[in-house]
Amino acid sequence: MKTTPVRRTARVGVQLLVAAGGVVFAAVLAYAFLSALKPGGEVLSVPLHWWPSSFEWHNFARPFTEAAFSRYYLNSVFVGVSVTLLNIVTCTLAGYSFSKFSYPGRNTAFVVVLATLMVPLEVIYVPLYALVFDLGWVNSFAGLIIPAGTSAFGIFLMRQSIDSVPDELLEAARLDGAGVVRTLLTIIGPLVRGPIAALALFIFLMNWDSHLWPLLVASDDEHRTLPVGLAAMQANNLGASSVPMMMAAAVLALLPTIVLFLSLQKRFVEGVAMSAGLR
């Protein structure tokens, strides 16, 4: 392969540009983090100071002492993990069913599931709230978890992924006497670990971000999740001196999903590729 020096220089230049762009993207988060460490008056100082004059680490304790932040946090984690587990089960089962079995109504069901992706969620909240109320799930974890227990995207992703599992493998397993469930656990499961990780991450991220539904269905202190809690905290914390604390709260709220994402990103990328039918 021939590469002229000019071309090489150009390529290095482009790469450096892209690297610099990446730094700019991340700078927003660095700005948030450093602002969270600043003394109150320094946050919007002119000219801009990136570096805090003193590191006020205690700002990160303030959300916990001045608001019920640990409660919001635990709730978000609990609801997020429950919803994710529930989705892994329901979406994998449904994906398997839609992909590898043949029965009347199967395609119709799949299309209807996908069509729900196009309905703006905000507007179904009133009939949904009425339903959840009738079930007695207002201000309960059930109301936060069970309606979110499956997802159209998840079913789509799992169906696509399981489609790529060769039928010959399943046939061989069947001839070995493996039942439907055992085939799922021993043959398909290991092959779609990547997509499952992707699904888990995707659902957890979505749930972590969910604001309006938790607000409607569970707004008492005991069941508040992070977004609802953050919004309430903003309303309760007046004045410039609270800005670093709010930044600290935002950073703390951002942290778990960022860490989770960075540790699972390889699988996420694989899973997304798989669902996109690129195999």
Binding site: I146, N236, A240
Partner: protein, 424 residues
């Protein structure tokens, strides 16, 4: 797990007609109580709840606070299903605009107040102050938790910097402009600003001015949009003059954070502002240094007049019509309302009972004369159905005129059409 959950769903779904909140069985009562988020108020509510619960061991109060911007949404969703709290604490706009026309509230229960008739309850209050919780037929649905008049605050240190006498505050809006230019010259670039927060704030500022200029948003019968009337145009012109044309401050530099409504005044960047009693309390808390320099004076008027016009608004305690324990709920409200002096001392919330301004805690309040005077000259806001849409329209009109420089007549013509569509 998923299957079990699904079965639970299906089973519960088929028996979905029952449910609802627990009845007040066996003497033990749980009352749910929702308010907006105002930190000092929350603290006092918590104290009063604890006291009430220890006096009434069979009663448990479940207290929830919900940010203002989300309050109505949450109320409507829950009330529409027959749920919702037993006690609501909401402003007169929401009461008269949404809850009363929809018949969501229960009429006041005089027995809980130890009175034999609603008239006796009313007799305790300054005439007119309960209008914010009355329906079209004049029936009463709540008692006020706070009643606010409009006043004006000036930073006396800034005034001295500009060679102005703080004892001679501006009496007219024209004087605000004149003084503003002098304040600018002395280096105080934000002489006066309105608050540009959510649309509720826009419309309260707008109605404050419209009350003074004789304008209104809709006609008296509430059927026709009235934004193109001369008085209403004058109100917006006044706003544009103060905020844009006069140049006494840059509206774009106004901090727009609804969580800190008086931040610019409190931080000492802004010299003059429209204020309410509770806002002074808040500034005292957050910025004691600036607070020392602030004086509260009567709200400026369009022209020098002996009959000034203000705007008043109130928050009321009211009971959900779907509540199964109305009597107990009113009893608790009666207890809250009986603590008038603490509301005044701890939170600067005025309970407009007759003679409140001469009570000991009122006398101890700074600027009591100005504040008391503003109550006597105030008018409640106009309110109608779908008022949230109307408020959004007013916000858009003010934004267009003040920030984008759209001519007042044009902005109001568009707004008038929009309001007509909303109420028509």
């Amino acid at each position: 797990m998923a299957i079990a959950a699904t079965l639970a769903v299906v089973a519960a779904g088929s028996a979905a007609c029952g449910g609802g909140s627990d009845d007040a069985a066996g003497g033990n009562v749980t009352i749910t109580f929702w308010t907006h988020t105002h930190p000092p108020m929350i603290d006092l509510n918590k104290k009063l709840i604890a006291e009430y619960e220890s006096k009434n061991p069979n009663v448990k109060i479940e207290y929830q606070t919900i940010p203002n911007t989300e309050f109505n949404t949450k109320m409507l969703t829950s009330l529409s299903t027959g749920a919702g709290p037993d006690i609501i604490n909401m402003d007169d706009n929401a009461l008269r605009g949404e809850y009363l026309p929809k018949r969501l509230l229960a009429e006041i229960d005089p027995k809980a107040f130890g009175k034999s008739s609603v008239g006796e309850v009313e007799a305790d209050y300054v005439p007119g102050t309960l209008d914010g919780a009355k329906d079209a037929e004049g029936k009463l649905f709540g008692v006020p938790s706070e009643f606010n008049g409009t006043a004006f605050a000036i930073n006396t240190a800034h005034f001295k910097d500009a060679g102005l006498d703080p004892a001679q505050p501006p009496k007219t809006w024209q004087q605000v402009v004149d003084y503003g230019k002098k304040l600018n010259a002395a280096g105080h670039k934000q002489a006066f600003n309105f608050l540009y927060l959510h649309s509720g704030w826009y419309s309260q500022n707008f109605q404050t001015l419209a009350n003074q200029t004789g304008g209104s948003i809709v006609s008296a019968d509430g059927k026709t949009a009235n934004l193109e009337s001369e008085g209403t145009k004058e109100a917006l012109r006044l706003w544009v003059e103060l905020a844009r044309t006069s140049g006494i401050s840059d509206p774009k530099s106004s901090s727009r954070d609804a969580t800190a409504p008086f931040q610019d005044l409190a931080s000492g960047t802004q010299s003059m502002a429209i204020v309410y009693p509770w806002s002074m309390d808040q500034i005292k808390e957050s910025n004691p240094d600036t607070y020392k320099n602030l004086a509260v004076v009567p709200l400026p008027q369009p022209t020098a007049t002996s009959t000034p016009v203000n705007r008043v608004y109130g928050y009321f305690w009211a009971v959900n019509n779907a509540s199964k324990q109305k009597a107990e709920a009113w009893k608790f409200i009666s207890y809250l309302a009986s603590q008038k002096e603490r509301w005044l001392t701890d939170v600067s919330f005025v309970q407009p009972v007759k003679g409140w301004e001469t009570s000991a805690p009122a006398k101890a309040m700074p600027f009591i004369d100005v504040i008391a005077q503003s109550y006597g000259t105030g008018k409640y806001d106009q309110v109608g159905p779908h008022w949230a849409e109307v408020q959004d329209t007013i916000r858009d009109a003010v934004d267009a005129a003040v920030f984008d420089g759209k001519p007042v007549d044009e902005a109001l013509r568009e707004a008038n059409e929009a309001v007509q569509r909303s109420i028509g």
